[in-house]
Amino acid sequence: MPKITYIEQNGTEHVVEAELGISVMEAAVKHMVPGIDADCGGACACATCHVYVDPAWADKIGKREAMEESMLDFAYEPKETSRLSCQITVKKELDGLVVRLPEFQG
């Protein structure tokens, strides 16, 4: 299973073996990574699973869709590298993925 590293704002790292086919958000919830609220459960409706993805992974994780783009625009401190983790599906090529968590969700 691909390894995903979640890094909290304070530097704490959580390395998770993520199941193929679920989302990066679900993998975090499943492995009790704090800092991803996911209030809507993955419906791309709330922007509380916001993460920053290292630009090196941009090609492998795919592009943001319009809906995600707009939600992120109003998230807390959005950046070029912002993604909603519920919209990234875990696949083999994502082994080693590193995502950073924002200070707040919402």
Binding site: V29, G41, M71
Partner: protein, 404 residues
């Protein structure tokens, strides 16, 4: 610390409150008592992705089993609470008693049931639990017509799921428009259009008289005399808060268990959160009971924090969402009492928002495939903003320029 927290209800609110108790440093015993045999899970997908067979059951779970172990949360499932003894501070089930120092009532809001002739025939469904959705799934895989009673969120979402599965659908709605209790007429008109375009037979202003069938439902009969043959029925006519335990215990109840802004009921040792509770809204200046997952989560955070000795207050702007076909509706705020509505965008292109105002103040926004309008409105309502209606209606105005 020998303190004991008991939570009645293993839904979104119950699970969140337990997590928030621990986050707030509560070191005592936590027990969650749930009636369903399943660990806390998300309900919203039950009418959408899960019903359509796109999600495995374990993907509905809010938290992994290890969470409850690690956090020392005693999750008791398939347990029905019989009574709350406030004098003795004890919760009673059929076989056991659970003493508490802090109690949370998070019993939810089960569906209202029909009592017309034939309502108890097999094949008449309701939708609240994973078991309900599991029973409904074969209907979507079978043939024939599904009759849906009620054009609220549940009815319309199931209609969309059923049409996606290729099943014929008739919706019977007593009111003159869909979503009559939760949305304005512009949104109602829009959803009527998209459901009809998807082939739904939508009967508005239609009153149900009975169900007919031998041994199982075979037709819905309207008061007009019309008979609609069907292979199954889904009833989605709203939900009623589960307040019986609270009432019997003498707590203040009235369309929900009453709480203050700290999620505390009329008994200072007892809290309530989620669909079963009614709270004062500082934004709207009145009492509200909301049926929504985000509300359950946010209220439960407040309840859990305060059960651990904190002083959090609940002042979140309510929000809701619904997915039907290729349309995402996101609603923020509550439009009751609005004296003006402004439409931004083009309903014909399935991309618009309806802004409801009262005396200039923004009350709510319904955003159709327009998450930016939703996200912005959430901030404006929280800030008590009075946006210029002309600017709102003009698509050339950048939404962000409306922020104070």
């Amino acid at each position: 610390m020998g303190e004991r927290a008991v939570i009645i209800g293993a839904g979104q609110a119950g699970a969140q409150a337990a997590a928030s108790l621990r986050q707030a440093g509560f070191a005592g015993a936590i027990v969650i008592l749930g009636e369903e045999p399943v660990a806390p899970y998300q309900r919203p997908p039950l009418s959408k992705a899960y019903l359509q067979g796109e999600l495995e059951p374990d993907r509905l779970l809010l938290r992994p089993a290890a969470f409850y172990e690690k956090q020392k949360i005693d999750l008791r499932l398939g347990v029905r609470v019989e009574a709350i003894d406030r004098a003795a501070q004890i919760v009673e089930t059929a076989g056991e008693t659970f003493p508490y120092d802090r109690l949370l009532i998070a019993t939810g809001a089960p569906p209202r049931r029909l009592d017309c002739p034939g309502a108890d025939l097999p094949g008449v469904h309701y939708l609240r639990s994973i078991a309900d959705s599991d029973r409904l799934r074969p209907v979507l895989a079978g043939g024939g017509r599904l009759v849906i009673v009620g054009a609220g969120y549940i009815g319309l979402e199931v209609a969309a799921s059923a049409r996606k599965a290729g099943i014929d659908v008739t919706i019977i709605e007593m009111a003159g428009r869909v979503l009559a209790r939760v949305a304005g007429k512009e949104i109602s008109a829009f959803f009527e259009k998209i459901h009809r375009a998807a082939g739904v037979d939508l009967r508005l202003g239609a009153a149900l008289s009975s169900f007919a069938g031998r041994g199982r439902v075979e037709a819905a009969v309207l008061k007009s005399g019309a008979k609609i043959p069907c292979s199954a029925v889904l009833v989605g006519i709203g939900a009623a808060p589960a307040t019986a335990l609270a009432e019997a215990a003498g707590l203040t109840v009235g369309n929900g268990v009453w709480t203050d802004e700290h999620a505390r009921t009329s008994d200072p040792a007892i809290f309530a959160a989620g669909d079963c509770s009614s709270h004062p809204s500082p934004i709207y200046g009145r009492r509200m009971r909301l049926e929504s997952a985000p509300n359950a989560i946010e209220q439960a955070k407040v309840a859990g924090t305060n059960m651990a000795g904190g002083a959090a207050a609940y002042d979140a702007v309510p929000w809701f969402w619904s997915d039907q076909y290729d349309v995402k509706l996101q609603t923020v705020g509550v439009s009751d009492g609005a004296d003006r509505t402004v439409i931004r965008g083009d309903p014909g292109r399935r991309n618009f928002s309806v802004w409801s105002l009262k005396a200039g103040k923004l009350l709510s926004v319904d955003a159709v495939n327009d998450p930016a309008a939703f996200a912005l409105a959430r901030r404006l309502i929280a800030a008590g903003a009075l946006p210029d209606p002309k600017k709102l209606a003009d698509p050339a105005t950048a939404l962000k320029s409306l922020l104070p």
